[in-house]
Symmetry: D2
Subunit: 476 residues, 4 copies
Amino acid sequence: MLQSSYPFYLANKAVFANQDLAVTNKYSNQVATHVAMASVTDIDNAITAADKAKHAMQAMPAYKRQAILQHCIERFKARYEELAYALCIEAGKPIKDARGEVTRLIDTFQIAAEEATRIYGEVMPMDISPRAEDYQGMWKRVPIGPCSFISPFNFPLNLAAHKIAPAIAAGCPFILKPASLTPVSALIVAEILAETDLPEGAFSILPCHRDGADLFTTDERLKLLSFTGSPDVGWALKAKAGKKPVVLELGGNAACIVDHDTDLEDAVQRIIFGAYYQSGQSCISVQRIIVHESLYDEAKARLTAAVNNLVMGDPLDESTFIGPMISEKEASRLHGWIEEARAGGANVLAGGQREGAMLEATLLENVKPDMSISSQEAFGPVAILSKFSDFDAALDEVNNSDFGLQAGIFTKDIYKAYKAWDVLEVGGVVIGDVPSWRVDHMPYGGVKDSGLGREGVRFAIEDMTELKLLVLRTPK
Amino acid sequence: MLQSSYPFYLANKAVFANQDLAVTNKYSNQVATHVAMASVTDIDNAITAADKAKHAMQAMPAYKRQAILQHCIERFKARYEELAYALCIEAGKPIKDARGEVTRLIDTFQIAAEEATRIYGEVMPMDISPRAEDYQGMWKRVPIGPCSFISPFNFPLNLAAHKIAPAIAAGCPFILKPASLTPVSALIVAEILAETDLPEGAFSILPCHRDGADLFTTDERLKLLSFTGSPDVGWALKAKAGKKPVVLELGGNAACIVDHDTDLEDAVQRIIFGAYYQSGQSCISVQRIIVHESLYDEAKARLTAAVNNLVMGDPLDESTFIGPMISEKEASRLHGWIEEARAGGANVLAGGQREGAMLEATLLENVKPDMSISSQEAFGPVAILSKFSDFDAALDEVNNSDFGLQAGIFTKDIYKAYKAWDVLEVGGVVIGDVPSWRVDHMPYGGVKDSGLGREGVRFAIEDMTELKLLVLRTPK
Amino acid sequence: MLQSSYPFYLANKAVFANQDLAVTNKYSNQVATHVAMASVTDIDNAITAADKAKHAMQAMPAYKRQAILQHCIERFKARYEELAYALCIEAGKPIKDARGEVTRLIDTFQIAAEEATRIYGEVMPMDISPRAEDYQGMWKRVPIGPCSFISPFNFPLNLAAHKIAPAIAAGCPFILKPASLTPVSALIVAEILAETDLPEGAFSILPCHRDGADLFTTDERLKLLSFTGSPDVGWALKAKAGKKPVVLELGGNAACIVDHDTDLEDAVQRIIFGAYYQSGQSCISVQRIIVHESLYDEAKARLTAAVNNLVMGDPLDESTFIGPMISEKEASRLHGWIEEARAGGANVLAGGQREGAMLEATLLENVKPDMSISSQEAFGPVAILSKFSDFDAALDEVNNSDFGLQAGIFTKDIYKAYKAWDVLEVGGVVIGDVPSWRVDHMPYGGVKDSGLGREGVRFAIEDMTELKLLVLRTPK
Amino acid sequence: MLQSSYPFYLANKAVFANQDLAVTNKYSNQVATHVAMASVTDIDNAITAADKAKHAMQAMPAYKRQAILQHCIERFKARYEELAYALCIEAGKPIKDARGEVTRLIDTFQIAAEEATRIYGEVMPMDISPRAEDYQGMWKRVPIGPCSFISPFNFPLNLAAHKIAPAIAAGCPFILKPASLTPVSALIVAEILAETDLPEGAFSILPCHRDGADLFTTDERLKLLSFTGSPDVGWALKAKAGKKPVVLELGGNAACIVDHDTDLEDAVQRIIFGAYYQSGQSCISVQRIIVHESLYDEAKARLTAAVNNLVMGDPLDESTFIGPMISEKEASRLHGWIEEARAGGANVLAGGQREGAMLEATLLENVKPDMSISSQEAFGPVAILSKFSDFDAALDEVNNSDFGLQAGIFTKDIYKAYKAWDVLEVGGVVIGDVPSWRVDHMPYGGVKDSGLGREGVRFAIEDMTELKLLVLRTPK
């Protein structure tokens, strides 16, 4: 059960300042709980506290940072079902997927706990030219300082965890703004963080209005901005970020190629998962399915049948595969794109209907590349089918996008696989599977409009630390 | 001898478009040569060509990238004195220092040639959780794409080389804007690059007006902006850089601590070099000398005598240590700061006079921390002396700055050395020497207002490449 | 309490074959329990089983290897006091030290659990010369195969753990021979390993007679021999090891320099610990204390007083610091060396008496370098004091040894510290502390007669794996 | 032209001690030159000198080690044809292959020159448990000391270079015994090394009788034995090597699988090269060709025709592909194996005749696995053809060998390629090519009876260096 209200956390402490943010059950549309909203002053105070905490965080030995993360893991295990329930309610996430996300939250903290003691530097020869003969050197990584985090609604726990856990591992204080639609699960994490020995100011988790959130971007005491969310918002923040570096994990219209030698039974199962899992509300959801002509008709028949079989309903129901989208507004936006495509000549093979935030799993063909449903990020339970005859042309089609996060290639041909690795303009290529696959330690992130930088705990820690050199001259 | 005029290089080719930029001998103030200026259209064409060249650059095997860099090294050696002479004339750099910079140019290209075949990726276990059991993965680094480079006047060769050489090693096309006051030596490099097999469009070196230069910052076909220059300009560019990441190598007011156990004879010699070498026009020139009270009087006497002994004159003269500053404007600006300090109660221990661009090597004491000569970047032949009694307080004084590039600590105490490494807010700490020390492979760059990112060939290559993941799923 | 008897473990299973090995309480000399001894046939069967298990071990995903190690950690925590008690009885280890060893056992397994998912390989450019243009490559680490382990009596748990835990992390089956004097605690570990999903044959822990143990060295199905113990035995095994590589962790006569700027109060406390901790039965116990002449008298007085204050008695007593040596034979051997030194002119400053296996903590001075007590490994509660005036000569004195494991240097001088790092012929130099310091992830091992190779989990894993290259040629 | 006699090099100096070793032209069997042989006393003196040189070598800055290697490269280029000619005469190596080896000699020294400045260590967190809170640590690699090298006749230059060049890069003095049949080219390298600034004693290159060579193995002042040659000799040396670690690069009976989807035209060309290049006298020569049944007849026809077309003759002739084997004894040994196979039912598809040391390129089928020509290392121009229907069974057949150096797999199937990487018991798997492929920086070496350790410059340097730890305790 959710509590009737939740505080925000400012400088490690719960603040029951107000109940200004009503959080709805995304399926029933009923208000499920209320959450305190942070004011601009609260955010400013949180930054002040983070800035004060930076030395204590930097000085904290590795084993303590590890122990704090391990405490969180213990507590996540203890509150596993509560966290899954919160996700199910506030995000409308089918309960099985919600449990999967809690499992990944634990994975992410586990990886971070292990990385906390593995932040290596380098001893490097300095005497590489005569004028450096009397010098030796080494460098280590030091925390970059207070970090600013903004996390999205689609994985309210794990995509917050991909910022929080590395920050603790690295020794950086942080302030985090969870998505306003789904603040609850991050606040439960905050409650658990508050049980630890983190120095005061080490963390603040602050639901807030977008305008109040400006300080997350502009305040110069913050030394890194890490944002996961929509491309438009992300790129706009970069321009306002002042002196701090920016990590952006944005979206895409991920493609999946199914070549002639594919085992269709396996591929269809994976594609259905990749395209419709949690209503396609994932940055690496399969949006474009590009099938070799020899398999096209069979693939179409199987995919259509499989989409029609997906169970839609209350996310709390164990049998539900398709729940609501995050909001009626989003469902309506995407339904409009389907209708636009249909009007432009596309074929709706399955689904296509909407009721409130409930959009059916939908499969289209004959979509033109410049239609919104193809060229924009769908971020919902919609995929489009097209056919290819030449593999290289299929790779070009994958690249024919403003985005470039991940791509999936069903092929058994090693040369095609390695060519895809070479020429696809994406952060990652998955062979024999959908682009939607991620494990939480791997380098993850996009090129082109899909973002900047890589997450995956070790890689996030790199962004949260700076190289610091020590040179020793030994006078002769 | 300089040629009577120099072309710019657009898409690997010399273009004798005009002779619009008069380059003066910085000592005599006579026009020494003329250089063609690129228009906005030229820059746009160069970017188009770079964008077209990106696939050819990415596909170029490592040994070819290495061979191109080795060709440059051979040619730099052959044209060694010509390059040194060009530096001496266009930058007013004493001829010995100019030769030293050509040597470092060669070092930088040598390091890059060696790194070109060492851009490693990683095979990483993917099976770290049950749901990843059937997966394996690896990542490599791929070139980020066309790069935009802006280089400064104080090391017209080597600070351009720190961008050019890693770009070639990494496989990135680039456009470079040399400083308008000192474009000649970079154009000689361009002439040499034009002799190589670099694919058309791989490089353009384009002197241009600052407004025309906007495309260097804003064009979205450019995937990285790497700027070396003044803090104000650098930070302003970051806000306009659009979607591309930005590397900034800016300046500082570097400090040097001289603790009680220092061998003063050695330290004075190093400090004189660190503070007045090429008239202090280095990002890591010693500006603030903080001496333990037990050595203060002796250090003051020795430093004053040494400054008074520095030979000022024509940089072409082998005996000259102090030549002109880059311009009368800059000399006047800095002389004004000296006068401001004198007026505010500071003691001028040596120097302090100016004639045109010739500013005497100057040593001050009793300077207040908020005076421009202390708090701003001097970037000229001026240093200020102060005293400390407590080492920790001296570290605080080093940190009492908007900047943080490098710091030098003369101490023999390992605990003080390591504490300095821990607490100083800088990119690098040099023990037993001045902050002004750099060898071209080491990670180099600042924190706070001194910049963003690290150069030093291997580290620059990291910024010029992106991680690209390959995952292989093996269905059971 | 100990059980009345313990089985050995052959191919993961307890075998109550006999009760042939009586294990005594090292303090009371009473038989404490009986342990089954493995025959040559048992050992041969264990090797056969390990060889059969190698493919299953290699194929085990990383998360399972991690989970097995985590299970052990949970169980070690649950049986913490039992393990400490077993150590106390079978090794005569003071109970506080015994608990410390169990804590380190847990550390070692924890580090290994974390490393199990971090066995990285490398993607390397192959196209470094024209003839390699069409090639790319990568390598990974694969388990070396069945390993042979022999562990010593002085840390019956943790020095076995330094072999067992990396083997599981790396995916290698193993057979382990614990020291015959102290087999019990390793058998408790075996009991815990038997609870896991390790494939049959993955481990055998086999107390056995030395002659039966030949197969541990000679059998060619075993792909690595890792031995921790005495130098004589270790080097003899290397010659008989056939085709397998050999890791040897042997002993030494570790030295500690106390320079003139040392805080004696701190140093004396550390040296007493380093020299007499668990009766000096550690490979890196302080044996030679080399003090600057300016501090010699004071150091002598303080050390003598401190040694005289050490409490000797029953290791089960919480206040005991000095318990028995491992056997009367060993105590007698070492007492003989003391007497030999005394006869040769050495001064016994403290201790020097023996009763059975109880040898007093002993401090000597005026020992000649070629006396056994100086040149051989004492491996007991004895240290010798000498004086130096020149630091470089003190470094030479440290090097004047057949051994080279670790050295400790109390100095604050960074140049002396780094010189020690350069010139001492040892595996590790500890500044500001005794040579006796070790944390379980650091690279640990000796040069000269002190051994071959490095332990410390990540480094042990390197020895237990082999590089395996994959090259892909892409025909044009 | 060869000189009429060559000295050996002892402690960097040419010693014209005698002319005891007559070196023949392997094609004409005429004596081509005489070489001085080192006595046991000479070898002992060389070791003494190497031991004395170890500190000077360790102290030599990286840029000097690099410069020495670069000098060698310049001189190899200048004496390119002379080196190729020497190889051609003394090894009977076809002149084109001889030139190829000189090119690789240069590659190997080039890689080593670049690695000389890249011997990195690590800064590692020590504070991973409470008891380590006040500690920090780092390690570097230091030279292991004087090395003992024994190199073979088949690549008299490049396989010596794989020991010499890394030793110089790492800072190790060395003594090298070239093969008695082919000492000349290594002595030319020695002549070039003698021109450099290497400290006296840094190198000795000593042709000698096998019994005199015992010191190479047994002398304890030598800290590493690195041997390339035949398995029997190699493994025997390991047992006599005393305390030093041993690297063994031995031979094998390398296999190559040709799967059903192979482009035969390409594969046949590569296999002919891989099997008969320099008369198959390479450790990774193709000995076993395992072809999918669907391609078998076609592959047999093409291979037979291609073998019959190979030109045999004087290695000095530019058109010669097959020259003599190293000796009549070796040719006779291998011819005997052919005859044994023929007698046992094998089919000689091409070749099979011998005249003196000239053995025809020979192709067999219907060979039984236990015949010498299959199970032993042929080390000559002989390959055997067999067929498979099931890919997994073909992998088993590759593994059905005492050896395991490299394997080649012609397949386009990514799952077969990765399975081969997983299950083949070899040091390297080459996809789309023969096992005979090597580039000089890659990790190279075998498992099972094929050896111990990896060469490839960076990997050889790892064996020639030891980790040396520095720990700094900071008392509270």
